[in-house]
C-alpha cells in the first residue's frame, strides 16, 4: 500500500524568500516520488521526480527535492519564490509493487506568494 501526507494545506511566503513544501510518504516497496504543480484552471505539470538515483533531485523553475528514506520524506524547496510560483502543489508516490503505475496523490499544498 502507498500513501502520501502533505503536512501543510496552505503556505504563504514573500516574493524572494525561500519556499519549503513538506511531504511524507508510505510505501511497501521502493517508491518513485514526484512533485506536480497545478495552476488555476490548468492541468498538472511535472516539476521533478525521484526514481532511486540521486537523492537530491533538481526540477524545473529552480525547484528541487531531497529523498530521505530514514525520514520517509520528500520535501520540495526553492531558494527564492517568484509570483508565478503561486499554485497548488501535489506530492505523489508510485511504488514498484503496483501491477501498473498507479499514482497516489497527497491532498495538495496551496502556495501563496506575497509581493
Amino acid at each position: 500500500a502507498q500513501s502520501v501526507t502533505q503536512l501543510d494545506s496552505h503556505v504563504s511566503v514573500s516574493e524572494g524568500t525561500p519556499v519549503l513544501l513538506r511531504c511524507n510518504y508510505s510505501s511497501s516497496y521502493s517508491p518513485s516520488l514526484f512533485w506536480y504543480v497545478q495552476h488555476p484552471n490548468k492541468g498538472l505539470q511535472l516539476l521533478l521526480k525521484y526514481t532511486s538515483a540521486a537523492t537530491l533531485v533538481k526540477g524545473i523553475n529552480g525547484f528541487e527535492a531531497e529523498f530521505k528514506k530514514s525520514e520517509t520524506s520528500f520535501h520540495l524547496t526553492k531558494p527564492s519564490a517568484h509570483m508565478s510560483d503561486a499554485a497548488e502543489y501535489f506530492c505523489v508516490v508510485s511504488d514498484t509493487g503496483n501491477a501498473g503505475n498507479m499514482l497516489t496523490f497527497g491532498g495538495g499544498t496551496r502556495l501563496m506568494v506575497k509581493p
Binding site: P31, S32, F34, Y36, K42, G43, L44, Q45, L46, K49, T51, S52, F90, S94, D95, T96, N98, A99, G100, N101, M102, L103, T104, F105, G106, G107, G108
Partner: protein, 114 residues
C-alpha cells in the same frame, strides 16, 4: 508534438444520465490512466488501460468503466450519474506501466452533475 488532449472541456449533465469522456495520449505513449479530482482535493486514481485491457483499478464503483482503442486513445464512461460525480476528470498517458515512468496529464474535463 501534441501533448495529452481531452474532450470535451466542460460538460453539464443531470442525475441518472450517462457520460463519455475522451482522451488522446501523448505521441508514442501506450498507457492511459484516468483520475478524478474533486474540488479542493488531490486527484484519485480511477483505472489504467494498457494494450486495450484494464490493468489496474482504484476504489471506484462499476458505474465507472472505460475502454482503450488500438490507437491507444481512451474513453471513460460513467453511468447513473450522481451529484457527487461532479469533478475534474484528468487523463494521463505514459510509456509502459513501470513505476518510474512519468505520467503526463491533459487539461481535464470538468463535469457538473445537476
Amino acid at each position: 508534438d501534441a501533448g495529452v488532449t481531452q474532450s470535451p472541456t466542460h460538460l453539464i449533465k443531470t442525475r441518472g444520465q450517462q457520460v463519455t469522456l475522451r482522451c488522446s495520449p501523448k505521441s508514442g505513449h501506450d498507457t492511459v490512466s484516468w483520475y478524478q479530482q474533486a474540488l479542493g482535493q488531490g486527484p484519485q486514481f480511477i483505472f489504467q488501460y494498457y494494450e486495450e485491457e484494464e490493468r489496474q483499478r482504484g476504489n471506484f464503483p462499476d458505474r465507472f468503466s472505460g475502454h482503450q482503442f488500438p490507437n491507444y486513445s481512451s474513453e471513460l464512461n460513467v453511468n447513473a450519474l450522481l451529484l457527487g460525480d461532479s469533478a475534474l476528470y484528468l487523463c494521463a498517458s505514459s510509456l509502459g506501466g513501470g513505476a518510474v515512468e512519468t505520467q503526463y496529464f491533459g487539461p481535464g474535463t470538468r463535469l457538473l452533475v445537476l
